[in-house]
Symmetry: D2
Subunit: 346 residues, 4 copies
């Protein structure tokens, strides 16, 4: 039985980890931390997690939990994760960090976008970007996983086959994402109160969202050259899901049939990417509660543009589901363990 | 008292016209048609329109209503509007057509996208595209207004100042729109049933939506050359509103301050366009129930791209509100009559 | 021009007052207070209220605003309103208090349910309960109006004709109310964040909600004897509206026709109560943005029970709309001024 | 491997059965019928059910599927289920009928409320009402299960301990239920279109809903005497869930502690009923996607009334989840197989 700790277990990604791990036959959760809720049981705070009535939130003291778990999910805020991750990693623990702290390989870019210094650059170099479709082999051997951001997951999976096969002009990429409100996290903030979000729709952080350099980093690796993108996130009135609509100019004449074939081949062995047939329409409702990424493809022949639409559940493939997938790969479990579910529809 | 008839008065745009006209001091509604609901009173069908308890839906027989109204709002389905509009127009009536039948000046483009022949090309030539911000003077003298589509309204108003002032490369335009579900009309269709739409989000008619040529037509006029665009509509889980996010490469170095200034000057006399200050974020919730178009501007300096966001209420500025605005201009009413309202928030 | 001040103008009821008064030809808003937002303009805080760009929120100092307005809307929290109301009232001003501080005539009941002492009992005795359907004549002469609570408005209007005409056993009343989330006010509270409320539904304050004694007070006056009720409010995932379902045993055999007739007669001169015909179904969506109360009636012949359903907009008839109605009555305006609108549907 | 067929597999309850059974290690789905979608594969119609790409909807011909399954879930409309159920039952098959056709033991009551004759009264007598908390032992031996209605499940589980222990006056029961829109089924009907339901809330079938006699039947059995109830269902703007608020006069003085104890003891061995502690608040969001029924209890000491609130997922405990629970009991599987999940929150 793999003993697992969750640091930062009272937010939506922490709760989602608890939900998923309760169905994982090879795992037992031995510790959960929460600064705000230390001393309370999980089921006191979240009655629907009644199975965890014996597990008490504790203060995050990495030294105290070091010996109580074999693998650590870190669901702390950006900046706050750095030190704890470094400590656990240096003590030989396996760590999956859901924060952004170990995602950007270039420390200057991290510091520019996140406005905090990175104090653990040696550890940073050991981190593997935890997108299994790109880095499965490295993940299998890694001790430190930087779990991808929600927006980057949908964007990179949408662009990977076209970029790798040089089908698109990489200086023309526009990424327009629409996220459910759980992406903002579980917090008291009037901006995310029901009456402000409901029946509303808006863009935010236009041309300035912190996931921009993360997307650019991975696309640049795939393309083998530096890429700058346009990325606009939007806040949408639903709980879960990110729909990402991507535009890029085609570099050559290519048929729909051929492009779908390229995508299907790229993802033929992937359990969590589903390339739809021509006419298929990704919908966040189709992937709700699952670790699946739906990919839809259209060519605009009037403008020679490829339009890619992806749908993921931001708390699953965009966070906790992908984290469990990474754990499964690291620990030698079947990749689909605890993730092999059908969407709850409606 | 201007006598007004509404042909096609049992859909959402027809009902919205009834709501607006009930507050118009210079107008009386004398006839309303509906094929499905002929014989019923308006308030039988829509209890909340209790003020119209004496008005009975009738079959559309243009000859019968010809003398009973001075101005006709036509809210019929595309293709079905052509003949009735032609008949009324030829009999010297003033007509505001909310369908797409008289919007596209090039009949071949109409027939290509709408898959029906246009039988009234002489009348088509007399139609004025009813976007007051572009055609106010022509509207004032017109007898036949082609009321703009909902998506084109938000897209064109967002692009007009930048295109006219040659600030953007017009071959690089991406228009990504998100519409509330009322845009689909009032109908029995499982695709628009509550449980399919709620908690979902998807693109539809990717690269093939009929509003594409309408947007291209007006942008081409503004730019003085042929423009092709990428346009993707999305179906969103809220009742009203369209948020449109537009991307275009800048043709020159320009500051945010300067570009906001260009936009504010372009719309300085417009009662229904509100250009937000730097950092302002258009939201469909801010314009709900109003005829206002919010415009927000951002420059992505890393990619030399202008990002424009517009928010309208699809049933108001995107349909019935704009139709009443056109009527006010045509008939010499104060432009804001019956439209001078503040958004209902929340 | 009546000069009006709003004390507590940055919550949902304050904003709704601003929306309504912008359409009132006889009123000008001269001062607005907000402790949190003092110094900001209204349109800084709420871009959609762009018409109020010249009005600056100020700290509440009653002495400062005493001479700047002729009538004061008090939208302060319960307990906090007492002193300011007393001060203004004693200085001869007209006051409409939207808090609960002057609603309960028995000071012991107030103190028991609101857990604060009432320090202004002399002023309390002068307050008139501002439900126009019951107290129109007193309101016309009053200087201090205690504007009714949202739940009591829907409950009392539903029960008034049956209670007055002794059609029901007043010891058997069950009132089950469902409120939109705007009823909780505009605040940062995780309980009212989007992801907690959306797709959820729950009862709260079961058998202990503070509106209970307010409903009992008014029903007891109507019945001429002490009444205790069961009242359960519920939090519902929509912005606006309260649907109240009321159950009471019939005291006599009576037909649907007759009971509808009793209700229609009771409210025959009321501009803001609409008694539906047999089979009619009140819906919060039918009254959204309006000051209307829809009333539907059903007799369960198998249990000799009258079931009354009412629908109101909690921010309108349940708060700010009713406050403006009271102002219209007090100041001799036509009662429907600024309130004569049709619901925004959908 | 138990071979299972689903008759009526293209509605929400049919899809929910497919979702649940995909996680059941002891079951394989061998046939699915749908009149409207015969010939299509399940995943053609529902892309999110991609695992069922090899299963083709077929016309319902009971003779054809008789030998292809060992147990039949019948998710046909009321009235349409009668004959097929009778045929399968008489051929010795195990049948779980999700329609209402075999729920009411008194055929006259069935015919009065459902307006169709019951032609299979001999078979009707063999049916067991499939509420495991009341009839577990009978279910284990039964060949024909009448799966309870969604509203009756929440109402009966809420009232069972109080009724059985004679704590309440059974002639005073008021049951006020609020259902998510999936309860209306998957169909094209303007009443259930997004823009009509969203931001709305209404009662329907007041004092006339067909689940009334079903609730009365079971409560009468528990009480040992004839009971008539008041039952009002409401249509709520969320996908899944029923919250039921129940009022009944207490027959004796009893403390909260004691009454909670009675309830906890009644359900101490039940895997799918969770009695909350004092102050706990059932919420449909807490049970979404699960087979759990949350029960909350409050005493109104001012009116000597017990107020019981229950929350279920109408598609799970209210339909397909309970059907799978019944199957598990009938076939000797562990009761929680395929149902042992945590709610998806948010």
């Amino acid at each position: 039985m793999l003993r697992v700790a969750i640091c930062g277990g009272s937010g939506y990604t922490g709760c989602e980890l608890l939900r998923l791990l309760s169905n994982h036959p090879g795992v037992t959760v031995t510790a959960v931390t929460s600064e705000k809720s230390a001393g309370k049981s999980i089921s006191d705070l979240f009655p629907y997690l009644y199975r965890y009535s014996n597990l008490i939130y504790e203060q995050l003291k990495v030294n105290d939990i070091l010996d109580r778990a074999d693998l650590f999910f870190m669901a702390l805020p950006h900046g706050r994760s750095q030190e704890a991750v470094d400590f656990l990693f240096k003590h030989g623990e396996k760590v999956i960090d859901l924060s952004a702290d170990y995602r950007l390989r270039d420390v200057r870019i991290y510091e520019e976008w996140y406005k905090v210094p990175h104090k653990f650059q040696t550890t940073l170099k050991k981190a593997v970007y935890g997108l299994p479709e790109l880095y499965r082999k490295k993940i299998a051997k890694a001790n430190l996983i930087a779990n991808p951001g929600c927006y980057p997951t949908g964007a990179i999976l949408g662009l990977y086959p076209a970029t790798k096969n040089k089908l698109i002009a990489v200086d023309s990429i526009v990424i327009d994402s629409k996220s459910g409100t759980s992406g903002a996290g579980r917090k008291s903030d009037i901006k995310f109160s029901y009456c402000e979000v409901n029946e509303g729709f808006k863009a935010y952080a236009v041309a300035s969202h912190r996931h921009t350099p993360e997307i650019e980093q991975e696309l640049s690796v795939i393309a083998g050259k530096d890429i700058k993108i346009n990325f606009t996130p939007h806040l949408a009135p639903f709980d879960r899901g990110i729909l990402t609509t991507i535009y890029a100019r085609l570099t050559k004449n290519i048929s729909m049939e051929k492009i779908i074939d390229v995508y299907k081949k790229s993802y033929s062995n992937e359990p969590f990417v589903q390339v739809l047939d021509d006419g298929g329409s990704p919908n966040v409702k189709n992937v709700r509660g699952t670790n699946m990424c739906e990919v839809g493809l259209t060519i605009n022949m009037r403008t020679d543009t490829l339009i890619i639409v992806t749908a993921i559940d931001n708390l699953m493939k965009g966070a906790s589901g992908q984290a469990v997938h990474n754990m499964n790969i690291m620990m030698g479990f079947d990749e689909k363990t605890a993730l092999d579910t059908i969407a709850m529809f409606p």
